[in-house]
Symmetry: C2
């Protein structure tokens, strides 16, 4: 198993945000939550409430007196901040941070991403201890990202970086994609009934109209069942007619 | 200006989640919020509280009686759902959805992403009206994503797809990266003082130790100011010695 990153909340203020962060951590497969001097003490019932199905992340959260204590086993520390700091340190996007964390993990090294208190963000004395700043690209119009949302994006990027979900799938279950022969029968059936009902009024327009109609159904990637349904529809309409 | 996607919340239950969704929409530059039959009516003071600096998204939100009404001007509709549905429809990741929305926008077409109520998610009758399902990859251990977090990820992917933030930057402000000559002087200074204090006890180990020390400072990408600081440190240590 790869080393997952730890999430460190430095002086978080609201239990609700700690709970929401725990929940979304587990959504993205991360469960090592560390708290440095949470404002309202610990444990915090509001954190438990908001964590919903991720209560174990809250129960297993560790509380530390200082950032140095909280990072005792961490090789790579990232400081999440929205503001540009007057500090000489690489600034990485959340996506690049995730890639670096996975690469460190492949070398057997442990990483942590830290977040500051809601109102002020991380202090410079904390950022100094990080090897890089992690930046979540936001719209300049409104850059104030909720704490749990910031945790969410960074955890999402970490999970996505190691995830092989195909970007697009079409699952037709036990059904079969219609064969081109079945489609050809459908087209022949439909066009012959349209000829019968004089749908193609102008013979020289017929080829173009036929192409347009065939395109509609070709584009739809029909299953064999759907082809049968459409042929039933045609039969039904013809009968009523 | 490109067409931004609309966010449609179908029968949302908690005002807090509507407010949190509005806030994170604006974080990622999206402001067209549409509500279909919100459970607790509208306006909802809890939504305003949670929206923080994004109150205008709440104030400008439009309420509709049906999904059909809410999508009156939408060309491409995406249904966000965690569960696999027994439905023959393409399933796209949030990232692929974002890319498709931008591509539609480049053709002048409008897209919307819809989300179901917290407890149950979207009904099949709503999903049927979408051209594709949008899927946020989550850990199988705990797949229940909070509504506002789901809105967050999809909006983040849309913003990121159109964002050109470099994945890594180092901003040294008005300072200058140290020249290789300044570094060479630093190395010479340090190594000569180390020779004076007999740091390199074994002469045949000296070349390797020198290389290791030079690597430490080469890796640090020092500014010219930092080189001066380090040379001051060496002078200071030598004096005390």
């Amino acid at each position: 198993m790869k080393n997952k990153p730890a999430i460190i909340l430095v002086s978080p203020q609201l239990g609700e945000n700690i709970g929401a962060a725990a929940r979304v951590m587990l959504n993205f497969g991360i469960d090592d939550l560390r708290l440095v001097t949470p404002r309202d003490g610990w444990p915090n019932p509001k954190a438990v409430d908001m964590a919903k199905g991720a209560k174990k992340v809250i129960e297993n959260a560790r509380v530390f007196e200082s950032l140095a204590d909280a990072t005792f086993d961490i090789n790579h520390l990232y400081a999440t901040t929205a503001r540009t700091r007057d500090m000489i340190k690489p600034t990485l996007t959340a996506k690049k941070t995730a890639q670096d964390i996975i690469s460190h993990s492949n070398s057997g090294e442990r990483s942590a991403i830290m977040f500051g208190p809601e109102r002020t963000g991380l202090e410079n004395e904390h950022i100094t201890l990080a090897e890089a700043i992690t930046y979540i690209p936001v719209a300049p119009e409104y850059t104030s990202l909720n704490l749990a949302q910031a945790v969410s994006i960074t955890c999402y990027e970490w999970f996505s970086a190691g995830d092989d979900t195909p970007e697009q799938i079409v699952d037709i279950g036990n059904l079969k994609q219609a064969s081109k022969e079945e489609l050809a029968h459908l087209f022949k059936h439909l066009e012959s009934e349209l000829d019968n009902t004089d749908f193609f009024k102008l013979p020289d327009k017929r080829p173009k109209m036929v192409n347009n109609i065939r395109n509609i159904f070709s584009r739809a990637n029909l299953t064999d069942q759907e082809v049968r349904t459409l042929r039933g529809i045609i039969r039904s309409l013809v009968t009523k007619h």
